[in-house]
């Protein structure tokens, strides 16, 4: 099947090259990672969101300073569900009730005069004040936005000044909202700039590098794992049991100092392969450290991930042992859900990789993916989708709201896995939905997480509310 033009796109035919139906023999790579059609009611976000929300946000102990008018900071204050266990003190002897990275929102609050006369001084002053206010933080991470980017504030020189005056670690990402075509640009910028800054810090302060005697031959870093709803609570114990040591993650629940030591690993394991393969590539190039790709969603993929990692270290037997134990543990629960979910159809709309991460996993539940859509996927994501997708699956790159509605109306999936903005829309159409970005009740990763995922899908589908809707079954 070739590209197809949806009914709602008759008047914006340029969208046709983004929309196709899968066919094994004739795989198509749609136009992707290109400009959005203005006014098409896109679901995409901005580069700043990719840098601040996805890559930088999960870092737990940094003061995260947004250099902008108030809104860009307000919307990124503790919204995504990236969790942490690092807490500040609220009183002597009592820790805060919310982890440090979600507790405070720090912003320069640019005003008209800053736009006219420049905001660099305000940024410097704000950063120095926040370091005084939060001396417990080892450093700051600063982000530019449309406003500070367009007026050309020199964040790099402010960073140098802060380092000089305070000796604190400083990361920054220059990903104004209007740069790039989607969040994806911000992932890339944050990867590239953080890596550069990590190198610089290691060069200037070699004492921060992990000493040889504290390293083990089995050190790994989980790259592109953001600890959504505590996915790490299921992934880390698995890693321990297969005999590897996780130095840190990039960037779920990560400390700034750990990130400085990111290149001291023996192997990088890349989970989100859209937002973070960049840094794995750079570490490989700069430090000659290999990486492997892995998915921790579903049984087969988690099995494969464990085997890939252990194989690298010659620990294959440990993986087999863990796999046997874990699959046995969840078998009866899995059977229970498989019996109830078998034959149901699914549409998935996520950022990128989860479409192909999840096709296999849903098949493990006996479900069939009938449509998949990605906000910011690149060519390699569509290659992976094509290789995993069943024939006849509708694929849309960067879908807009109308296309999503048409997708739901024509494919009539039994459930729609999507983001927060779309989940209420799907429900209005009578289709059960599930938040696949921040999850409903995670963790969803690993073996136990897979049962949570199945449970939430079943709860969405099985709720009596759907059978109470007027006109159903009449």
């Amino acid at each position: 099947m070739p590209f197809i033009r949806l009914k709602c796109d008759e008047l914006i035919p340029e969208r046709e090259k983004h929309t196709y139906v899968t066919e094994k023999e004739k795989s198509i790579i749609p136009l992707c990672n290109i400009s959005t059609v203005p006014g098409d009611m896109t679901e995409r976000g901005c580069a700043f969101a990719g840098a601040r929300g996805v890559v930088g946000g999960p870092i737990t102990d940094a003061i995260q300073i947004v250099h902008s008018p108030i809104g860009c900071a307000y919307y990124t204050w503790a919204t995504r569900r990236h969790m942490s266990d690092q807490y500040a003190w609220s009183l002597p002897g009592r820790l805060d009730n919310v982890a440090f990275n979600r507790r405070y929102c720090v912003v320069t609050d640019m005003e008209e005069k800053d736009v006219v006369f420049g905001g660099s001084r305000k940024l410097l002053k704000s950063a120095l004040e926040s370091i005084r206010l939060f001396p417990e933080a080892p450093g700051v991470i600063m982000y530019t936005t449309c406003t500070s980017g367009l007026i050309g504030d020199d964040i790099g020189s402010v960073a140098k000044q802060i380092e000089k005056e305070t000796g604190k670690l400083v990361f920054f990402a220059e990903a104004p909202g209007c740069s790039g075509v989607s969040q994806s640009k911000g992932h890339h910028v944050a990867n590239r700039q953080f890596f550069g800054q990590i190198n610089e810090i290691r060069r200037k302060q070699p004492e921060l590098i992990l000493p040889e005697e504290e390293r083990t031959p089995y050190d790994i870093v989980l790259v592109g794992e953001y600890n959504m709803d505590w996915d790490l609570k299921v992934i880390l114990p698995l890693m321990e049991r297969i005999g590897v040591r996780v130095l840190t993650t990039f960037t779920g629940n990560a400390r700034m100092m750990e990130l400085v030591r990111l290149p001291d690993t023996k192997l990088n394991v890349v989970h989100c392969q859209r937002s973070a393969t960049y840094i794995a590539d750079m570490v490989k190039e700069g430090y000659d450290i290999p990486y492997v790709k892995a998915s921790f969603f579903g049984i087969q993929q988690t099995n494969k991930a464990l085997r890939t990692i252990t194989h690298h270290f010659g620990l294959d037997e440990l993986a087999e042992q863990v796999i046997a134990e874990e699959t046995a543990r969840i078998q009866s629960a899995l059977d229970w859900y498989r019996e109830r979910l078998s034959g149901k159809t699914v549409a998935i709309y996520v950022g990128g990789p989860r479409v192909w991460h999840w096709i296999k996993l849903l098949e493990e539940l006996g479900m069939k993916v009938v449509a998949g859509a990605c906000t910011f996927a690149h060519e390699d994501d569509y290659e992976k989708i094509n290789s995993r997708a069943p024939d006849g699956m509708l694929v849309i790159d960067n879908p807009n709201e109308f296309e999503i509605e048409e997708l739901l109306e024509t494919c009539k999936p039994d459930i729609f896995l999507c983001g927060l903005k779309e989940k209420f829309l799907g429900r209005k159409m009578g289709i059960p939905t599930l938040n696949s970005h921040s999850y409903e009740k995670g963790p969803y990763a690993g073996y136990v997480g897979f049962i949570n995922f199945a449970r939430d899908i079943y709860q969405a589908l099985g709720a009596p509310v759907w059978s109470l809707i007027n006109g159903k079954g009449e």
Partner: protein
């Protein structure tokens, strides 16, 4: 059998079973530098209590029937705001965007606007598009008036005179570096009335209501009050059936909620008897515009919360329309008073801290004083000219001397509460106060625009006598949950 081998039940693993060990960021307690606590002593803003100007304009634009905001800026400007509406209301929020990428930032947003407006209108056929500017479009200097003319020309060329002219385009300039979401809504109220309201010199015997950024439950309550009095009214930006809509598929595509103010209603607002802007700072501009342009009397605030402010609102409506305050409303008032009398031992002398947008913070403070509570700190996240004087006026009678923070941040609010020698008993404010209340170990009664961490807040009113009952019940029950052992609550 070790824990690792325990079979997993169909319940999976619940969040509270994860055993997250809290790790302190430093070995010792770190005291916040008291010199930097007052916002006046620092540049940086920590934990803001307001958001960006376009938010208010988008809120307003969604309150129009078949109304779509179009945001002239980067995609995040739309996505973040939609996300926020979704969190508050658990409803879809459709907003279009010009998708500024590098080329727009360099060459200006003209092409994106004209193409974007065309793409939106030919597919969605909206009645009205609210053109919302952003930091970026304002900085690069997009000439929106000429862009709108060009877009209209393009539409007429493609769709013909009639169809191309049909959708109204209303421009609201909202550079976020010049004000908060409050200002965005205020500006939208003026922009819509300036663009659409007409004077036919044909009195319509109606009043106009500009509700401000209140909840669907509040708008419904205002309608109820007016219905009981037999008063006909127009509501500008009526979000009641936009942000609280029924689940009744099938939907016709594209999705539009059924509610929202009609264009014809806004056009006819130039013929009304009076305009009531329930919030001084959210809609006052629109009311004043109608007063200047069409000599329609404007009644701007106070938000009809609690007894006296609701009395005042109804009295003014009665005077303007000549309709009497109905027996049913007098009964509602009486029921609220009865409830206040029955709960006074739980509210009298309670030390309360209040924060939020200026009008609701003022309204809550007034009601709290009527309940015999003692406001010890009152904060507006947005600075206004009158907030400090308004609060001073309200508390004067009771003799309370609260800390008044006009346009500060929640960091100062929190640290000020922590520094009080006698602790506060209860906090009233939005969900951003949850962390503060937990640390102070006092209840948070949720009220205001940004309530997203509990369900159902938006469905019921805080306005009017019945809204007062609801708020009072929430307040007393929260205090009970926190401060009384169960054996003391068997006989209230």
């Amino acid at each position: 059998m070790s824990a690792n081998h325990q079979p997993i039940s169909i319940d999976g693993i619940a969040y509270n079973q994860l055993k997250i060990e809290k790790k302190p960021i430093t070995p010792e307690y770190v005291r916040r530098d008291p010199e930097l606590v007052p916002k006046a002593n620092r540049t940086v803003v920590v934990n803001p209590a307001r958001t960006c100007m376009p938010f208010g304009a988008m809120f307003a634009g969604l309150g129009m029937h078949r109304g779509l905001p179009f945001v002239q800026g980067a995609q995040g400007c739309t996505t973040y705001v939609r996300y926020t509406f979704c969190r508050i209301f658990q409803e879809p929020a459709s907003i279009a965007n010009a998708s500024f990428h590098e080329d727009a930032a360099v060459f200006g947003g003209r092409k994106n606007f004209i193409e974007g407006m065309r793409n939106l209108i030919v597919r969605y056929h909206p009645d009205v598009v609210t053109v919302v500017t952003t930091c970026s479009s304002e900085i690069i200097g997009d000439d929106m008036v000429s862009f709108i003319k060009a877009a209209r020309k393009r539409l007429i060329t493609e769709l013909g005179e009639e169809d191309g002219s049909r959708p109204k385009l209303v421009l609201v300039n909202t550079p976020s570096f010049a004000g908060s979401h409050i200002v965005g809504y205020d500006r939208a109220s003026r922009a819509f009335l300036e663009t659409l309201a007409q004077d036919h010199s044909k009195p319509n015997n109606r009043i106009n209501i500009i509700p401000g950024m209140v909840m669907p439950g509040d708008v419904r309550e205002i309608k109820h009050l007016l219905r009981e009095m037999g008063v006909d009214a127009y509501t500008l930006f009526d979000i009641s059936d936009v942000f609280d809509t029924p689940l009744m598929p099938p939907q016709t595509l594209p999705y539009y909620p059924e509610g929202g103010t009609r264009i014809t209603e806004v056009e006819d607002m130039g013929n009304s008897m009076a305009t009531f802007a329930l919030c001084q700072n959210e809609g006052g501009l629109g009311a004043r515009y109608l007063e200047q342009k069409f000599e329609i009397p404007a009644f701007i605030g106070p938000m009809p919360m609690g007894v006296r402010s609701t009395d005042l609102f109804l009295k003014r409506v009665s005077e303007v329309t000549g309709k009497e305050i109905s027996k049913s409303l007098k009964d509602e008032r009486g029921r609220l008073l009865d409830f206040m009398a029955d709960t006074l031992h739980h509210t009298m002398m309670k030390r309360v801290a209040i924060f939020g947008d200026p009008d609701i913070a003022t309204g809550i403070t007034r009601f709290a004083c009527e309940l015999g509570m003692e406001p010890v700190a009152v904060m507006s996240g947005t600075k206004t000219k009158t907030f400090t004087a308004d609060i001073e006026g309200i508390v004067a009678e009771s003799g309370a001397k609260p800390l008044i923070l006009n346009g500060s941040d929640l960091f100062e609010f929190e640290e000020s509460l922590k520094a009080m020698p006698v602790p506060v008993d209860v906090i009233i404010g939005n969900s951003k106060g949850a962390d503060i209340a937990k640390e102070l170990q006092v209840p948070l009664v949720r009220a205001g625009l940004f309530v997203y961490d509990r369900v159902g807040y938006h469905k019921r009113p805080v306005i009017g006598y019945r809204g007062g009952e609801r708020l009072l019940a929430d307040l007393v029950n929260a205090i009970m949950d926190f401060s009384y052992p169960e054996e003391r609550t068997q006989q209230l």
